[in-house]
Amino acid sequence: MSRVSRSRWSRCLLPPADAPVEDRVYDVYDPPLVVARTRAIPAATQDLVELPDRRAYRSLSRTGVLLCAAGLAAAEALGPHLAADRYRVGIYCAVDPGAQNYECARELAGRSREDFAAVFKQLNHPKRYLSQLANLPAAHLGIFLGVRGPVNVYCHSTAAALHALEQAELDLAGGTVTAALVCSAFSLEDPLLALRVRTSCPEETVIREGAAAVLLTVDALLKADNRWPRREPRPGAEFSGIAQPLIDFAQEESFPC
């Protein structure tokens, strides 16, 4: 499949160079679950970005806030496209579903099923479930930016970013949209997700939080084949899970990240 789009703007959010590599300790487990060789973005979730609506923090996971942080930075670049026709701007997102409430699960693991409803209600505020839905970070981003075109969310654990890039390409080529905001994020918030990514990578690979957003539009003069980024971790490179292919794409495109 040949490519019609060019990156016009991109942003990556990654831990700063001086953020230490460390073992991540999840003490919700006893003994604690330790995921070795990780790097986090050194900011509390609510400090990652100032969301236009502060209520949204309650219904977003850390991954979701990170996604919004990357995507909101595109507001100015998206402006002219939204002004022309907000129904022809799309969002294409690759993201893991948000973390479960581990404290609640731990509490209920030792309780009878008759207690389930009361304890679950006590330990989960009503919006907690919304933070687990994979599509809501992108939906929130669309709300904040005013995007009314398609908002597509993919969650294949390794290929989602490729699916998002491909869909953006198809929609641009077909004229469904004139601008495609492709975005992805990965956080260390979810213990079992961090463990899964850790065990899928070579021991020396550092698992790090990260997010990327890329704005693609059609370049009528472009003649290129698709070069989709690889899914697997690169030897010696840090790895941001589901978001890594888009981070690679953003960094390798001609527009500086």
Binding site: R55, Y57, H125, P126, K127
Partner: protein
């Protein structure tokens, strides 16, 4: 029994926690729907926080349905505290 001042403070704390509102933005006259843009899910969330603080279950969804059916009616922070007081007194009476 909680004082009127305690109850008002609990309501404010619940709104701050649930909605991310700044505490100094809230007065007893602040209107939930008109001033804070509260929707039905927000009301459920405020209700949850109030229940955590006071042990009192409030069926705020019903209040929202009433408001939705009668545009122009709103619920102030003070009125929410009054409703809470009424429910706590009723529960105590039982």
């Amino acid at each position: 029994m909680l004082t009127d001042s305690d109850l008002l403070q609990h309501v404010k704390t619940s709104i701050v926690t649930a909605l991310g509102t700044q505490a100094d933005e809230l007065t007893p006259e602040t209107r939930l729907f008109e001033d804070l843009g509260v929707d039905s899910v927000d009301l459920l969330d405020v209700s949850y926080e109030l229940e955590r603080l006071t042990g009192c279950e409030l069926e705020l969804a019903e209040l929202f349905r009433r408001q939705d059916a009668q545009p122009g009616r709103d619920l102030t922070v003070q009125q929410l505290a009054d409703i809470l007081k009424g429910r706590l007194e009723a529960a105590e009476g039982q």
